[in-house]
């Protein structure tokens, strides 16, 4: 698994990604980590198969007792099925996840980590004084879905929005937006169910200052590509299976 620091000031952002789990037909995922002093948040920690490389990657950067917070954008297995394993190695941590999924996510096995239910209208993750804003993104694609915005770093973690189905070991950032479209198009048309939810999200997110848009799959969008993505997504009809 590769780890790359994508923001490095008073606090830091990392992407932990591009682990090639061979022969398992797993969708590739990006995990993110925000470190602020002695507090560390792992965003969408990933599936069971990814736990060992993820833990190794995390430990390259922080000791385990400084991992104090987990964030799950929604209930999908690629997002949080490793929960039971994290639950056994984290002694004092919180999981921030949508309230409507609490009874579901607990089925992964939760004995030690505290479930912090995020209401439908979002909220804040306070990471040792750093305020990370929880942005509602319901029906994108999950009916209870949240994103995370860091006002200081101007980074938006956007869950499955912006996802692309890529070859393993693809670059971390989009380098040619037009070429990238073909890798995102089907995913958004098929996985995203609601045009209304989509427009509503774009309307809210367009008001934020975003330098880096971080999806859970594929490449990150930087600079002008963020706006290019939002414009492209805006005109894309979704929910094509019916």
């Amino acid at each position: 698994m590769k780890s790359l620091k994508i923001y490095d000031q008073q606090h830091q952002w990392f992407i932990l990604a591009r682990e090639d789990v061979k022969g398992k037909s797993l969708i590739e995922t990006n995990q993110y980590m925000v470190r602020n002093g002695e507090r560390t948040l792992i965003i969408d920690p990933g599936g069971v198969e990814l736990f060992a490389p993820m833990l190794s990657s995390v430990l390259q950067n922080v000791p385990i007792d400084q991992v104090t917070d987990l964030f799950a954008s929604h209930q999908d297995p690629d997002v949080i099925s490793s929960l039971n394993l994290w639950d056994q190695v984290l002694t004092n941590a919180k999981l921030h996840a949508p309230s409507i999924w609490e009874g579901f996510i607990r089925h992964f096995g939760l004995n030690n980590v505290e479930y912090v239910s995020v209401k439908d209208d979002g909220g804040v993750v306070d990471l040792g004084g750093l305020q990370l804003q929880i942005i509602p993104a319901h029906y994108l694609h999950s009916s209870g879905n949240i994103h995370l915005y860091d006002k200081e770093a101007k980074i938006l973690f956007s869950g499955d929005v912006g996802a692309a189905l890529e070859e393993p070991a693809s670059p971390m950032y989009v380098d040619d937006f037009n070429e990238h479209i073909s890798k995102m198009e089907y995913f958004h048309k098929r996985w995203m169910p609601s045009n209304t939810a989509k427009s509503n999200w774009i309307e809210r997110v367009s008001r934020l200052e975003i330098d880096i848009l971080c999806p859970q799959h594929g490449r990150m969008f930087k600079g002008d590509d963020v706006k290019r993505f939002l414009d492209w997504f805006d005109q894309l009809p979704v929910g094509i299976a019916v």
Binding site: V48, P63, V89
Partner: protein, 219 residues
């Protein structure tokens, strides 16, 4: 996801249980014993009916009275044992799943250890307490599991002993029925039923026993 049998062994050291096998054995044993429990309820009805016939028959069926009393008691106590088996089987399944979880974590942590050997992980030492705690935990869970499986086997064995005694008595009951004059036919039919039900219960109990024995065999 799939594991090989050896990966699912719970605990460290020589005598390890296969947690996966234990879960299956506990559930199968519980199902078999609960089937035996349904039969015990039928047996209880037959025995109670027999007791009514015996009361009507008076002196003519005195010998059969002892037999029907015995079966009423036998069915009551086996119904109780069945409920105990269910409780212990659920505990056992839960223990095995806990063991399986702990073991799954241990495997993942072993993977981290390997990665650390390949390329040094800066904060590796911070996870070491979890690694040793995991190893101790799986060892303890394995011991608990062995204890629980023995408890379950011994309960099942109690039912088996009872039913064996029941089978012997059911043979005697036919002799007693033959001495019951005009009630002979009714009592003989009951004796046949008692014997058949007892035998069916023994089959279920035996299957449960075999499952539990196999789960205790080390790989």
């Amino acid at each position: 996801m799939s594991f090989t049998a050896s990966q699912l062994e719970c605990g460290f050291g020589m005598e390890q249980l296969d947690a996966n096998k234990v879960v299956v054995a506990a559930s199968t044993a519980a199902a078999e014993i609960s089937n035996a429990g349904h039969i015990a309820k039928q047996l209880s009805l037959v025995a109670k009916n027999a007791r009514t016939v015996v009361l009507r028959a008076g002196d003519a069926a005195l010998g059969f009275k002892v037999v029907s009393d015995f079966f009423v008691e036998l069915s009551t106590s086996s119904i109780f044992l069945v409920s105990q088996v269910n409780i212990v089987a659920i505990e056992l399944s839960r223990g095995a799943i806990e063991c399986w979880d702990a073991n799954r974590l241990s495997q993942k942590l072993d993977d981290v250890v390997l990665r650390h050997k390949e390329e040094e992980i800066e904060y590796f030492s911070s996870i070491e307490p979890s690694i040793s705690k995991g190893r101790e935990g799986t060892a303890k869970l394995n011991d608990d599991l062995k204890h629980q499986i023995k408890k379950l086997s011994s309960l099942v064995d109690d039912i088996r002993q009872q039913m064996r005694a029941g089978k012997v008595i059911s043979v005697i009951s036919r002799i007693e029925a033959s001495r019951a004059g005009e009630f002979r036919q009714a009592l003989e039919e009951m004796a046949d039923k008692v014997e058949a039900l007892t035998e069916r219960m023994i089959v279920h109990i035996q299957t449960a026993m075999t499952q539990l024995e196999e789960a205790q065999v080390n790989n």
